[in-house]
């Protein structure tokens, strides 16, 4: 190894069953460099890190670490740590119910001559370790859980650093920190940088990247987009690189002319929110949506685009503000109230929040309607089968029978089932949060066409997607969100990708 490189990964390939997760990805880290690893969800950031730290095994590729004269393959995080790679994860994974000092030295307690833990020595060592990352006035004998998340995060970092690491990986460390805490973290990062530690920084906050990083590596769909010095990559271009330009056959879809009629005429407002907010996820926002309109929400991950939709549907109970639906105030306490009013919500995380894995396609399709009609009015089996068949055909779901378990379908077909689940309830206002994520291009086209068709029939749709082209093709209006705040609205007239990206990126515009 030369050129002051502390880590170099070459031609890393990694496959999950059915998916190419990493394709010939290169990554290199200089000594004393803070290097941002950027990309949208599913771009392969976490996979790359997990390959490096030995959580996943790579299919092929080579990893070299400074000071080791041969290729390194880590089989476990412990082994990675031995090779000088420490990781701090988004969620603090220390034990809140034991003392700070114990957390730092767990598994390697200093011992006395008769093999008991040398508490005095351990505590004094802990104080030293913590002061190295700028944490003073901490009682190391107190339980870790008594300190704030920020301090816990720092303790995790000090523990990682104490392993004499050459490479420190920080996986979204700032998502649970407030502004001051972030500042403190950055100071620590800069100190470590002085000492020659290479830091890999994964974050969704562009602002922070430009504050602290020296270089950026961008991944997209498991492939390397490029490695850039911070100075040569302005913010807007970074967003462009992250979101990319997917080649697909969707260019034929265009927003038809109904848009003007819907967006500009005096068709009645179907939904109006005033100062709606949910603490910690979305700051107060106002929104007006007209009947038959397709409204898009855009912004980077973590910008609050999903959270806005969740607050409207009451998936997260809004703690402030008012919501008017179809002309009257809607006070929902649970999603069922919103459903009964005529809303439907397709959540972002298909696996966690949508599919009911051990149930059949039929049951997954009718469950929302069944919940709406109530427990005592079981839909007759004939009716269930009829509905299931109808939507399997209408949405062209590929499955051997409607009794097939949904967990046995491909992602795209699962998503169609979930979409069918909500269409069966015949909603007036449909929220689609990333309906096209992780599914093939053909299905994407179908879903987009379906959105346009439904809107043409008078359904109001809120559409969230991280693919800008897809939004431009379907929506009348785009709401732009940035760091939990709705910052503006754009009409879809002569709107193109650069303009949207500029709006998403914020800061200094083009």
């Amino acid at each position: 190894m030369n050129d002051g490189l502390v880590l170099s990964m070459k031609n890393i390939n990694m496959t999950f069953p059915g998916v190419k997760a990493l394709l010939d990805v290169d990554f290199s880290l200089q000594k004393g460099e803070i290097h941002a690893l950027m990309g949208e969800n599913g771009a392969g950031k976490s996979t790359l890190i997990k390959v490096l730290t030995g959580v996943h095994a790579m299919d092929s590729g080579s990893i070299r670490i400074e000071g080791i004269e041969h290729d390194v393959i880590n089989h476990s995080p412990e082994e990675a740590q031995k090779h000088g790679i420490s990781t701090v994860y988004q969620e603090v994974n220390l034990c809140p119910n034991i003392s700070v000092a114990e957390n730092i030295f767990i598994g390697r307690h200093p011992l006395t001559w008769f093999r008991a833990v040398n508490w005095k020595k351990m505590n004094s060592m802990a104080v030293k370790v913590l002061s190295a990352v700028g944490l003073e006035n901490i009682d190391v004998t107190k339980n870790l859980g008594e300190y704030s998340v920020a301090i816990q995060q720092m303790v995790a970092i000090s523990r990682a650093v104490d392993f004499n690491c050459k490479v420190l990986i920080l996986d979204e460390p700032t998502s649970s920190l407030d502004e001051n805490e972030v500042k403190k973290l950055f100071e620590v990062m800069k100190q470590l940088k002085e000492k020659g530690v290479g830091i890999v920084f994964v974050t969704h906050f562009l602002e922070q990247v430009y504050q602290v990083c020296d270089a950026i590596t961008v991944l997209r769909n498991g492939e390397l987009v490029g490695r850039f010095n911070i100075a040569e990559l302005p913010r807007v271009q970074l967003v462009a690189k992250m979101l990319g330009h997917d080649f697909d056959d969707l260019a034929s879809i265009r927003v038809p002319d109904y848009e003007k009629a819907a967006a500009e005429s005096d068709s009645p407002a179907i939904l109006r929110a005033v100062g709606l907010s949910h603490t910690g996820t979305i700051q107060p926002f106002d929104i007006d949506i007209k009947k038959g309109e397709v409204i898009g929400l855009t912004g980077l991950l973590g910008s609050g685009r999903s959270e806005l939709a969740r607050a409207i549907y009451c998936a997260d109970h809004p703690d402030k503000g008012e919501l008017f639906f179809k002309g009257s105030a809607l006070k929902a306490h649970e999603p069922i109230d919103s459903m009964k009013a005529g809303m439907a919500f397709l959540p972002e995380d298909r696996k966690e929040e949508s599919i009911i894995g051990d149930l059949s396609i039929r049951e997954n399709l009718i469950i929302a309607l069944q919940a709406k009609t109530g427990v005592f009015k079981l839909l007759p089996m004939a009716k269930q089968n009829e509905l299931a068949e109808k939507f399997i055909q209408a949405l062209r779901i590929k499955a051997p029978s409607h009794e097939t378990l949904i967990s046995q379908l491909s992602g795209g077909n699962q998503q169609k089932v979930i979409l069918g689940r909500w269409l069966i309830t015949n909603p007036e206002f449909l929220i689609l949060d990333e309906p096209t994520r992780g599914i093939d291009v053909g299905t994407k086209t179908e879903i987009q066409k379906l959105i346009l068709k439904l809107a043409g029939e008078g359904m109001t749709i809120m559409f969230i997607s991280s693919e800008i082209d897809e939004m431009l093709r379907t929506v009348n209006r785009l709401c732009v969100l940035r760091e939990g705040l709705k910052v503006g609205e754009l009409k879809n007239e002569n709107l193109d990708r650069p303009k949207v990206m500029a709006a998403i990126a914020g800061g200094d515009l083009l």
Binding site: I336, D358, L359, I367, T373, K377
Partner: protein, 360 residues
């Protein structure tokens, strides 16, 4: 359950869930008949059916009823209700206390005593349900409260005046012959009454679950509570219901037990029944991690456990050694049904195949 009409999916279910439980039960009966050749002999003695098979279904009744309740609790809340045995004791004590010990008439009409008995079960179950569903306490911890306190309550109910002071924890007796009928035989009927009660309870539960959307709701909440909430289900209410239902099941089982021994014994009614009930659910091929469930499986599981017990008695194993033999058999059955075992088996056959190919 509706798939019974379709032979194709019925076969699928048989292969997936019910095959092993039925297989285990058959195996158990076959072993019994080999060791005790007269195992299946049934005769009529004193005007009622008599024999090991009758004994099994008779004695399994309470367990079947408890297992049905437990199945729902496990499916919806991904946890177990360990208080069912103690709740049986509470219900039984209340029932017997209300009936009183008199040779001429009941202190309280029989109907009211039974209603009170079931109501006691419902109250206990609702208490558990409140702790688990509303306060989100872990099921094991929440039901531990009644598991320990329940027998105490039952003893307080079973107080009797001795030398002028009320002494709790006495065995109360009923003196009216007609109370025996629940745990014994109805006049001129050759089949024991508990069997009818168990069949009735299972049928009723099946109807409640499958003629309403409840079965689907319970499965959904057990499989993916987050998704359940977003499609508009009230998981709190559903989980609460399963515990309340399980409480009523315990009440019914308590009634049968009290009638069997013609008295209420706060210390022994339903003792260790919670463990058998949980085991019955597991033997029925139901995952203790919640989600999909099969009432039929649990019923088969309950009968299997009783067949094991009766079989061991028939072989002359004494009551104090019984748990050891029982444990060995249970370990075998559970191990065979476990996914790990299936994986090992698959890996082993793969390994052997590879070995053979390498040998060539």
């Amino acid at each position: 359950m509706n798939s019974l009409r379709k032979p194709f999916s019925f076969k699928g279910i048989l292969h997936q869930q019910l095959f092993l439980p039925i297989f285990a039960l058959f195996l158990m009966l076959i072993v019994n008949v080999i060791i005790t050749p007269s195992f299946f002999n049934v005769s009529i003695l004193n005007g009622v059916l008599y024999g090991h098979p009758i004994d099994i279904i008779n004695r399994a009744s309470e367990l079947i009823i408890l297992a049905v309740g437990m199945t729902l609790v496990v499916a919806a809340s991904r946890g177990t209700d360990i208080s069912v045995g103690a709740v049986m004791a509470v219900s039984a004590a209340l029932c017997v206390r209300l009936l009183g010990s008199n040779y001429d008439s009941y202190a309280t009409p029989m109907v009211w005593a039974i209603v009170a008995c079931l109501f006691a079960g419902l109250v206990c179950g609702s208490f558990n349900g409140f702790l688990v569903a509303k306060l989100k306490i872990q099921p094991m911890v929440a039901t531990l409260i009644l598991f320990t306190a329940g027998r105490g309550i039952a003893q307080l109910i079973s107080a009797r005046e001795i030398n002028g002071i009320m002494v709790p924890g006495q065995i109360l007796y009923v003196r009216m012959e007609s109370f025996k009928e629940f745990g014994g035989f109805l006049p001129n009927v050759v089949v024991p009454t508990p069997v009818f009660i168990a069949i009735g309870f299972v049928l009723l539960s099946w109807l409640v679950l499958n003629k309403t959307a409840l079965s689907m709701y319970v499965k959904t909440v057990g499989i993916n509570p987050k998704a359940g909430r977003l499609v508009g289900l009230n998981s709190t209410l559903i989980i609460f219901f399963t515990y309340a239902f399980c409480g009523v099941a315990s009440g019914v089982a308590g009634l049968i037990s009290a009638s069997r021994i013609y008295s209420s014994d706060a210390n022994n009614i339903g003792l260790y029944m919670e463990l058998d009930a949980i085991l019955a659910v597991a033997l029925g091929g139901n995952s203790l991690g919640g989600g999909k469930f099969s009432i039929a499986g649990s019923v088969i599981g309950a009968i299997t456990i009783q067949a094991l017990t009766t079989g061991l008695y028939a072989m002359g194993v004494s009551g104090d050694k019984l748990p050891v033999f029982k444990a060995v058999v249970v370990i075998l059955i559970v191990a065979i049904q476990s996914n790990e075992f299936k994986r090992w088996r698959a890996a082993y056959s793969l390994h052997r195949k590879a070995g053979k190919e390498a040998a060539k």
